[in-house]
Structures are given as structure tokens and as C-alpha cells.
Amino acid sequence: MKMSSMRYILPEPFISMKRNPLMSLAAIITVVITLSLCGIFYLLIMNIDANATMMESAVEIKVFIEDDIDQAAMDELSAAVKDLPGVLEVRYVSREDGLASMAGKFGDSSEIVKAVDENPLPNSYTVKADDPDKVIPIAKAVEKMDHVQVVRYGQGAVENLFSMLAWIRTIGLGIMVLLSLSAVILIALNIRLTVFARRAELQVMKYVGASNTFIVLPFILEGILLSFIGAAIAVGLVLWSYNSILAYMMESLLFLSFVDVGTVMLPVTVGMLGGGIVLGAIGSAIAVRRFVRV
């Protein structure tokens, strides 16, 4: 096919959209609804993941050390802990600091702390891991070192938290995949219907000796155009509504953290527009091919 034919092909999708307004509208609405659902769920997952990550990174290991060791042994221990793989930070907490922070935690009932004559707390290290998965191995390794009295990282609770978060992530991913799949099927079916309604037209195009490219290309371009419009509307809808409820949610749900609109803007826009265009192109190509076999 000659490139000069493009001047005949390129305007076709726009003309056809104008001439089949209802069918075009139906296709656009399908794309808007399915892609919006995907987008909303993506934002949900992003926020759940952000909160999960926050909870995970809040997990710390407390290493309580024996009282009667000298400075050299302490330095040696802290160096050894620091050398463990995955250790991000080792902070020394003296028994006085420990008591002060404990008093802070009790808040109004800090008299309880005052009631204690002598500081019962040992000196300790607070160890942070660079990856939540490494918390348990680090704790196990530190436990075996000399001069370590006891290691605490919320044994039991942390394991439960981690496995729960892993489940939530897996289920979220599964639903995301299902939603995308249903979007693919819905959009493809819709395009098939659109093409089916116009199969007589395709037949005629064959009769006059139009090449396959000349017949198929306008339909593919139309599929791309319609899903691009639909995706653009969906992107606008999702980002705008997220932005408008974000401030409200931040005020009322203080204990949760929310992902900023700016950080999700790019992945949402690129993902939805790109996905929409690819879906439209592939969907219409497959649908038209069925009817144009020479």
C-alpha cells in the first residue's frame, strides 16, 4: 500500500465516530468504566502497600545487654551487630534514656515510673533492618552473641503481621489481575460487537478490491481513538476523585498514611492510557480480521 493512501485512511476514524455516535459512545463508556475500576483498585493497592510498608519498617529489634561489661566489649558487640547483613542502623540506648522513653509512653500515668526506686532497665541497642524480611534472621544471629541478655522484636506478633500483609498483597494482586482481565474481555467484546454491526460494510470493501490493510487500518485506528478517549476520561475521573477525597481521608483517618497524588499521577496516566490504546488496537485488529479474510 502506498503511503499516499494515508490521506484517505487517517480521517476515517473521525468520520465514522461522527456517523455512529451511539456505538462510539457505548464503546467509550465501556472503556471508561472498566479502566476506572482498574485505576481505583490500583490506588487502593498502592495505599494498602504504603501502609503495610510503614508498619513493617516500624518493626525494630531491641537487644538488651548484660550490665557488667566494659566499654571495649560493648564496642565490639555493636560492631559485630552492625556487620550483620541487612542491618541498617544500630542505636545505643542507655538505661536512663530507656527509662525516659518508657515514662513518655505511659504519658499521664508517669507516676508509675517515679514509684520505682532504682532503674530496672538494662542498657540496650535498638537495631533497624533495611528490609522487614531480615528482622527475624538478624534477631536470631544477635541472640547467639556474647554479653547479650535478651532479644525482643515482638516475637509472634511480628510473624503474624508479616504473613497477614503478604496475604493482603497477594489477594490485591490477584484481584488486580482479574480486573485487568475483565477489562480486556469487556473491551474486546465491545469492539467485536461494533465491528459485527458493520460487517456488511467490510464485505463491500472486499468486493471493490480494497487491500486488507486499507480495510483494517481505519478500524484499528478507530479502536485506538475510542479507547484513547475512554482512557483519558477514566484517568481524569480517577485522579480527580482521588485528589478530592484525599484531604478528607487524611483528616479523618489519622492512623493511616496515604499516597500522594503526585506520586501516582505518572503510573496511573501511563498505565491506563497505554493499556487502553493497546487494548483498542489489538481488540479491533482481532475483531476485524475475522471478517476480512479474503
Binding site: 499516499s4 456517523r19 456488511a200 460494510e201 468486493y207 471493490v208 478490491g209 487491500s211 479474503v294
Partner: protein
Amino acid sequence: MSLNIVIPAIYGIFYGFFQKFHSLFSKFEKDLCFKRRKKIKLSIIYQLKGGVAHPVIHLANVSKSYENGKMALRDINLNIEAGEFIFLTGQSGAGKSTLIKLLFREVLPDSGQIFIANRSIIRLSRKDTVLLRRNTGVVFQDFRLMENKTVFENVAFALKALEYPWPEVQRRVPELLEVLGIDDRAQAFPRQLSGGEQQRVALARAIINNPPILLADEPTGNLDPDTSDELMDIFRQINEQGTTIVMATHDKRIVNNLNNRVLALRKGELIGDHVGGWLL
């Protein structure tokens, strides 16, 4: 390395390239020949071929069954010369439409050979099928216009698909519409036209690129007698300009009005081949 090795080696490489390009070029040339036929009447090509009057359409032992296994056509042998205007008669289900469909490769025969311009159309590449259709205009009983396109666009589509430049499209379409007497309906949609007008648009679409063969499947089937006569007059004029026409019809009146060759089909068999008037 001595020169008497290097030079033949270089020559060999160039010769390989030469052969490659040569075969490519001759293929290209063949395509060009086939394309050129859309502008030259087939009859002229045949006269050039040593003056032997080859048939434009030649069917040899063609059989075709319907999807339900019933025979649509049985052992059809047929020669159609360039410039003929042939009526294909017979009752519904006699195989007229199937024969027409075979001629523009909408369906393929179960057995037998079909030659158009001395070329078998049984095994054609997709590209050659497209070229065959460009050389064959088709008109149907139910018009088959593109509902979402105006009259002008319907006719222009046939030229656009054949990559005619836009100024030529703009010149040729109104010209033909005027010849057919529907130039005032150019911007109307098919649903706004009468049956006769719609059939003229379909006819315009079929002949706009001046194909050497025109196939018509009951073109007057949905039209009243007066409109039919007007349309038949147009067909006759097209034929006079050298176009070979094969028209399936069960209208005794129009067959008797013209003194043309008539092929009669009954239950898929060719039972009559004579000139002038309704046989059965």
C-alpha cells in the same frame, strides 16, 4: 591470495546479488502487467496476443456444493468471450448466484478450474485476489451500499481503495454520477434513496474504475419494471463500451427484450446455451 581466486569470488558475490535482484524485478514487472489491465480492456490484451480470441472467462468441470452438502453446481463447462453480455437464467436455487460468486472468488469450487484472462483463480495469493476484484465489478439484488457513507463516498471508496489520487477521485465520481443521473443525490445517504437510485449507486461503485468484467446478481430483482428498463439500458451502454457482463436474472421480460446469449441453469446443471430470448 592470488587474484585468480579473488576476482571470481567477487564476481560470484555480485552475480548472486544480480540474480536476486533480477528475480525480484521480474516479479515486480509481472505485478505491473496485471495492474495495468485495470486500465486497458481485456479484449485489447487478447487481440495483442496473436489475434487469437481467448475466452475472458473459462470454466472447466466446475462443481460446487452448498454447506449442507447439496450440489449447487454440477460439472459446468463454459466459455465467455470478451465483450459478451450474458444472461444467466434459472429458478431460485438453480445455482446462478453461486456461479456469480465463483467468478469473483467469493467462494471456491469443490473441483474444476476457473480461468479469468487465462489465469486460474483457484490458487491466488491474497494480493492477486485483491487485483482480481479490482478487475471485476459486482452488483447485487440488495444493493449492498455502505449505510454510513454518502453516495459520493460510496462510489469514491472504490477509487480510494485503488489508490487513485484525490483530484482524480473528485473529478471522476461526479462525472459518473451525472452519467447515471444521480448527481443531485451525491450528498445523500443510501437510506434516503429509492431502490432504483440505490442500484445506480451500486452500479457506479462497480464500474467507476472501468473494470473489464461486470457481474450482476439479480440487479433488477427489487425494482419495478420501468426502473428495471432504465437500469438495463445503462447495462447495455456499459456493454457497448466493451465491458463483459454476466447477469443472473429470473426476469423473463428483460431477457426477451435483449437479443443476448442466455445460459440456462436447472438444479446446478447447464441445460441451455443459446442466443436470444427465454428458453424455459
